[in-house]
Subunit: 705 residues, 2 copies
């Protein structure tokens, strides 16, 4: 189902909020949202619904929804699960436009619960109600004070000026982030927790936030995803609107996937397919809470650097070297300062290290103009897109701290388009002022460098023209089941791959004729969809030099296969030229992910790759440019560039093949095609690439290994 | 030079400290140590030396060292570099036993400085003075208040009950750690900064701390190392005393190595050799300050877990899954709880996740006995060596925090030998109580899991019997320069490797006789120390079936090589049996590290390995057990175990070969042997391993690539 962003407005920005199950006790689940709405300055109507009280927490209460005068944009359902459906019906009767349902006891506990939840979802859909939950901690629009949540994090005031939108499938996790935000003094504009996702999914929330001007970055916590297409649509909206997405997704290891399965009912999809989706849409994937939070916050504060060069300024030479190591390990370029710049700084501090890092030394305590001189020099005379300054504990002295804040304010004003970051043992107040000024901070420079690498990743992704290719290919009706090699190769050829020319022969005479056409030497293989390991049954003969050898080979193969695999249906023998050309053996595969559909896999052939799991995935379809990125993603990529004087491979031909296969897979999405071209021989540059063997199955969903 | 720990006592635990260049101004470099010694309760004599004052900061001052009544264990030299040598001479005259020299302007600035420093070192050695520095921030024995440093970190009181000894070649870095320690409320027993290391090196300090009962863990910051043997000796002392070492070493990337070079004059050695040394001695290597500090602190607090199984308890299901992912990614075992235990907890909280993680859910806020019940259940009914409990922000409520502290105190008393850790948004006071109780804490569970993995690494390293093998092998006199293949193979055979039998033939007749002895098919290769790429000059013939082929091949090779490489000195042709046995091609190498001496390298053969740099290093000599660990370290190790039904390789034979080569390299350390057995064919289990080709050079120091 496509995303309907407009229909979500009453949920994200309601002008009136009813609380069904409203309680006078501010700590009860039905009492909390009323207190939160009041205390956070919500300007819309707050409408407590309670049949037994005429006033709740100082507000006039209504016995039923029907008694409310005027429209209700959002109803919070804080009643026990058993009464949830009745409440939803009352909402429909009143014309309520959206519902946040705290009530639990649905798909997360039992099959009956799952059925009840599906009924609610279907009813909500028919009634035009957007339903968040059940079993969720609700939604908070922090700027407007619209806190439709019962999470205790909102007992304390949150900073209101934030630009981070948080979408979390877990309520506890969402609340934890809000607590971290308050402690850190960082503002979030939205917290959205989607719970069981009967109707509104994380994807919908993501899409809404991607269109909201108060959201500069979206933080996305995922346990799984039921609807891959909807997630893709949301990510496309975010990508088109240049909204960076920082994601954390559970289940990247077997242990985690198992734990996730017992924790959530959501369909997970293969983790490496999520990984591919994140790469394809420029999403930053974090692996722990700290990284998720830090990168999200830094992205909301800092600008995107123009390049991956980073200038390093430090009060400690040793920490400077650590930063250089760390930056390089993160793929940043620690380019040296120009010689003239180095000489200028040497005049200021003769014993300073000046290459990059620039080590201002403890001298900054004696000469209080030194820090600003150093930073200005570095940024004026280089084109570093970003800068990290490690200050140690130098800001512990209050006077020096005040001086430094003034320095950084001037630096940022002078270099508004550089990503300037400051690291050290900084006080909370110091951090607040710097970050309000667009300068992300960290206690350890490794976190500043991580943020810089992340922001550069976004800059790079957003600089690339974004287009998922149209699929011009017509759907081809394929026979279902496992195809024999001849048919499989025909499918690859149809998809647009070069394939080795194979001829089917059912008699020895026909084999000789086919060999004459193919040329010598040639190879022969038994053709049978029933046989996977043809060599094991004597079904393969290589390097056949002449007619005599071909004739003998045909008879040999037929006899030997019939004896080794008497039940296999044999379609004959294929005859093909023996490919002796140099090249690198690769594998191109297509599998069907239960969540995202057709996925293309690429890796080098051989047992080393099997030992290393060195493969890249992409969702189909994609274009040549994406295929090039995919190819460069594997760790053994250098092999394709040519090692030890070997010629560079025809990577363009390989990229074209991958993109072609992806279009074919997308065009035939309904037919559940799994295929593998293996080996797919990539020849030296200019000589193309060709499939030497293929396995294709149709209509049998296969999981990715 | 061997380490003399006893001679360092006057430096680390002096009973009297003179300050030469003592100042009345407490902020001056010559004033600070006096204030620090006074304010930190140092019980020994503090002896300010100043010709112009009779009293300094309330203490009687002496005009010269010679005027001091009684002995002086340690003299702090806080005079300009130009007066350092004179001061050292005065110290010698007085019989001072150790000197901490703050003075700068030596090897770190110029060649003259380097010479002056060498003179001081030599003078100190002759005078029996242990000299720390010059250009260092001194040493602090925090427990005794003996602060012989001028770092501003000591302006504030440090916790005195710590068990962490810090050795840092950088003064600024050492001070930064002390500032972090104070902020965190963590105690260090020593901070030692070694500066230019004219005499006392980081290795000496490491060895001293490894023998000190107040040191439970040593944190080591290294920029480089001049004396590999001394570092090895220190690490052996630490290893024998079961003192965990957490190290951070600069220059792991090219950018970092370059920056380090411009920052320090110290000889670095190859980073991968340091990495190997750390592995060999069970040292934990950290890559950033936070990791260095966190792991060091956790190691000083927590016990070593008995196994790598970790129990996970969480108030948030999502965070529980993240922990499971993180634990698995760190190589910890997230074994499920026994079914009976799961059932017991389900009775307490029916909707809880109970596999592992155990999700206690927000219920712990309602049932305040639940946390303790859960943790006891998990630890009682499993053999998890360690546990992480994620509490979120639940301790924000003061009453609940007090309850929780009592719970953790009881848990730790009940399970003293389990490594129990707590993670969440904890207050500083909460952290202090837990950590005093032996429970390491973190704000993010990923850091608890990192600490657990580190502590488990120490447990594993310390459980292995530690022995560097004696080198029984006699030194063999080798011809110097590049050896031809015959001689090179003889060297490998002498080292104890199986080598393919090669015979040298200088005539076609001799070649035929050699082939008859070798058996058919055979191979022939030109023998010349001048030719590296023998195939390129037509110098190799494979698969020779009979005498006729051998005779023709001899003539072919000679003709073709003479024409392609007329200047090469040809020793003849070697004849060897053609090895067609199955096996995995590997590479065994020996190189000479400028710091650590002979190093053994191992990896699989082939271009994939070259693309991946998938190799392991070890310092020679080592035993079979270490060789087994080395072999298992490469990422492509699975290939040796047999993939796709291939037979497992003879890993025992491979390990024996690596250990043999390491003994050979150690025995011939004076001759600078570099060798490479490539390919070294490892056959299926039970069938041994054999060198098929070799390159050996003698007397030419070669760097590791």
């Amino acid at each position: 189902m496509a995303i309907d962003v407009a229909s979500l407005a009453p949920l994200f920005a309601p002008e009136s909020v009813a609380v069904i199950g409203a309680s006078s006790e501010p700590l009860k689940i039905g009492g909390r949202p009323i207190g939160f709405l009041k205390n956070n300055g919500y300007k819309g109507r707050i409408l407590p619904i309670n049949p037994k009280a005429s006033e709740i927490q100082g507000l006039p209460a209504f016995p039923t929804l029907g008694d409310v005068d005027g429209p209700v944009d959002l109803a919070i359902c804080a009643v026990p699960g058993a009464h949830a459906m009745a409440t939803l019906k009352a909402c429909a009767k009143k014309g309520v436009r959206s519902v946040v349902m705290f009530s639990a006891g649905f798909a997360e506990v039992s099959e009956e619960g799952r059925i009840a939840q599906a009924e609610m979802a279907s009813f909500a859909r028919q009634s035009g109600i957007r339903l968040m939950g059940p079993n969720c901690m609700g939604i908070a629009n922090v700027r407007t004070g619209m806190i439709a949540s019962f999470h205790p994090a909102f007992m304390f005031p949150q900073p209101k000026d934030g630009h981070i939108g948080l979408v979390s499938q877990s309520g506890a996790f969402g609340g934890h982030c809000m607590q971290m935000a308050r402690e850190r003094g960082v503002g979030f504009s939205y917290m959205v927790t989607t719970g069981n996702e009967a109707d509104v999914q994380a994807s919908d929330a993501l899409a809404y936030l991607a269109t909201d001007p108060h959201v500069a970055v979206i933080m996305l916590y995922l346990e799984g995803c039921r609807d891959g297409a909807r997630m893709i649509e949301a990510l496309e909206i975010a990508r088109r609107n240049n909204k960076p997405v920082v994601a954390i997704k559970l289940g990247r290891t077997d242990a985690g996937a198992k734990a996730a399965q017992s924790h959530t009912a959501a369909l997970a999809g293969a983790d490496n397919v999520f990984e591919a989706v994140f790469k394809q849409y420029g999403v930053y994937r974090a692996y722990n809470i700290e990284e998720f939070f830090d990168v999200g916050v830094a992205t909301s504060i800092g600008c995107m650097p123009r390049n991956n060069k980073v200038g390093l300024v430090t009060v400690s030479g040793g920490v400077g070297v650590l930063m250089a190591d760390d930056a390089a390990a993160r793929g940043l370029d620690v380019e040296e300062l120009p010689a003239a710049t180095q000489a200028k700084f040497k005049k200021l501090v003769p014993f300073a290290g000046v290459t990059n890092p620039l080590d201002v030394t403890g001298q900054i305590m004696n000469d209080r103009t030194l820090l600003e001189q150093a930073v200005n020099l570095v940024l004026d005379e280089s084109d570093y897109g970003s800068l990290v300054c490690f200050q140690g504990a130098s800001s512990a002295d209050p006077q020096f701290a005040a001086d430094q804040l003034a320095v950084w304010s001037r630096v940022k004003a002078r270099f508004p388009d550089r990503l300037v970051t400051v690291s050290g043992l900084l006080s909370a107040d110091f951090i607040k002022v710097l970050e309000a000024n667009g300068i992300p901070t960290s206690r350890d420079p490794t976190h500043s460098l991580r943020a810089i690498a992340a922001l550069h990743g976004f800059a790079k992704a957003f600089a690339e023209p974004f287009s998922r290719p149209h699929v011009a290919l017509a759907t081809q009706h394929l026979p279902s089941g496992s195809l024999n090699e001849i048919d499989a190769m025909a499918v690859l050829a149809h998809a647009g791959l070069d394939v080795v020319a194979e001829r089917l022969a059912t008699t020895a005479d026909a084999a000789v004729a086919a060999a004459d056409a193919a040329g010598y030497p040639c190879v022969m293989k038994v053709v049978s969809a029933d046989l996977v390991h043809k060599s094991d049954v004597g079904g393969v003969k290589l390097n056949l030099a002449d007619q005599h050898a071909v004739r003998a080979a045909f008879d040999d193969i037929m006899r030997s296969v019939k004896s080794a695999a008497p039940k296999a249906k044999l379609d004959g023998c294929l005859v093909a030229p023996m490919i002796t050309a140099r090249g690198i053996e690769t594998i191109i595969g297509v599998t069907q992910d239960p969540v995202f559909g057709p996925v293309v896999m690429f890796g080098l052939g051989g047992i080393f790759v099997e030992a290393l799991h060195d493969v890249a995935f992409r969702l189909a379809p994609f274009d040549d440019a994406e295929a090039h990125r995919m190819i460069r993603e594997i760790r053994t990529y250098k092999v394709l560039e040519g090692l030890r004087g070997a010629p560079a491979s025809d990577i363009d031909a390989l990229a074209k093949a991958l993109a072609a296969v992806s279009r074919f897979a997308a065009a035939n999405v309904g037919q559940q095609v799994s295929l593998e071209a293996n080996p797919f021989l990539v020849r030296p540059r200019g000589q193309g690439a060709i499939a030497l063997d293929a396995v294709v199955t149709v209509g049998v969903p296969a999981h990715i290994v």
